[in-house]
């Protein structure tokens, strides 16, 4: 894991296998702490993807287990979450990896004249 000191797998792209929803949630939380409904709305505005509520809670639990997000004290019935330092680092590593893949793909397209 990137950065999570819990399992000591420093430097790896842990987000490669957690699914798109988890990455989108981390991107949204990178802009500030949010609860479930705010996350769904933000992700919809940001990338046009509407997360289902079941998918959202599954991803939130997974990210929390990985230590990439932290639950904040509940506000009424809503539980806000914030990204942790390992979560931010993991997101950075993943986005860097996506950038490299994107650059390689564009280069191949250009070289292939497509």
């Amino acid at each position: 894991m990137v950065v999570s000191r819990r399992d000591g797998r420093a430097g790896q792209d842990v987000l490669r296998r957690v699914g798109e929803a988890s990455v989108l949630i981390l991107i949204s939380l990178a802009g500030g702490s949010k609860h479930g409904y705010a996350l769904i709305q933000d992700i919809k505005e940001l990338v046009g993807v509407e997360l289902g509520p079941g998918t959202l809670y599954g991803a939130l639990d997974r990210l929390e287990r990985l230590g990439l997000i932290d639950p904040l004290p509940a506000e009424d019935r809503r539980h806000p979450y914030r990204i942790t330092a390992p979560g931010a680092a993991a997101l950075r590593v993943h986005l860097d990896s996506l950038e490299r893949v994107s650059a390689a793909g564009r280069l191949r397209l250009r070289l292939g004249g497509i």
Partner: protein
């Protein structure tokens, strides 16, 4: 939720989640469903998403308190067996040696009155090898 049928549908689906999940997210999930339905998301779509989430939640193995308790119990049991074995160890060899030599292995002794098939008498020492079905056993 304004529509009681939608509320009932979502409530039913949320009951498919494990109790632990419902304690943690149940109220918020019901409120989130109400907000999404109010925004125009079909209730069936919300219910379906929760149903799929409940199935994933039930099927995903995770080390819960029960598993941890079982692991702890096994560890404690293993430790107590180890401690008991350690306490009994000094007494056991002597007792085992006296009983086994006295009873079961009389035929192994040199100078046994009846010859035992498969017994090779050792030269100059009181130890023989018995070969049974390809396995050597010393006594």
């Amino acid at each position: 939720m304004d529509d009681p049928r939608a509320a009932r549908l979502v409530g039913t689906v949320l009951r498919c989640y494990p109790a632990r999940w419902r304690r943690r997210h149940g109220d918020e999930a019901a409120e989130l469903a109400a907000l999404l339905i109010r925004d125009g998301t079909p209730a069936v779509s919300v219910a379906w998403s929760y149903l799929a989430g409940a199935a994933r939640e039930r099927l995903t193995p995770r080390p819960g308190p029960r598993l941890t308790a079982v692991a702890c119990a096994l560890l404690v049991a293993a430790c107590s067996v180890g401690v008991s074995a350690g306490l009994l160890a000094p007494a056991a060899p002597a007792r085992a040696a006296s009983t086994s030599q006295a009873r079961g292995r009389a035929h192994c002794r040199p100078g046994s009155p009846e010859p035992v098939p498969g017994v090779t008498p050792a030269m100059g020492r009181p130890q023989v090898i018995i070969r049974e079905a390809g396995h050597g056993r010393s006594c």
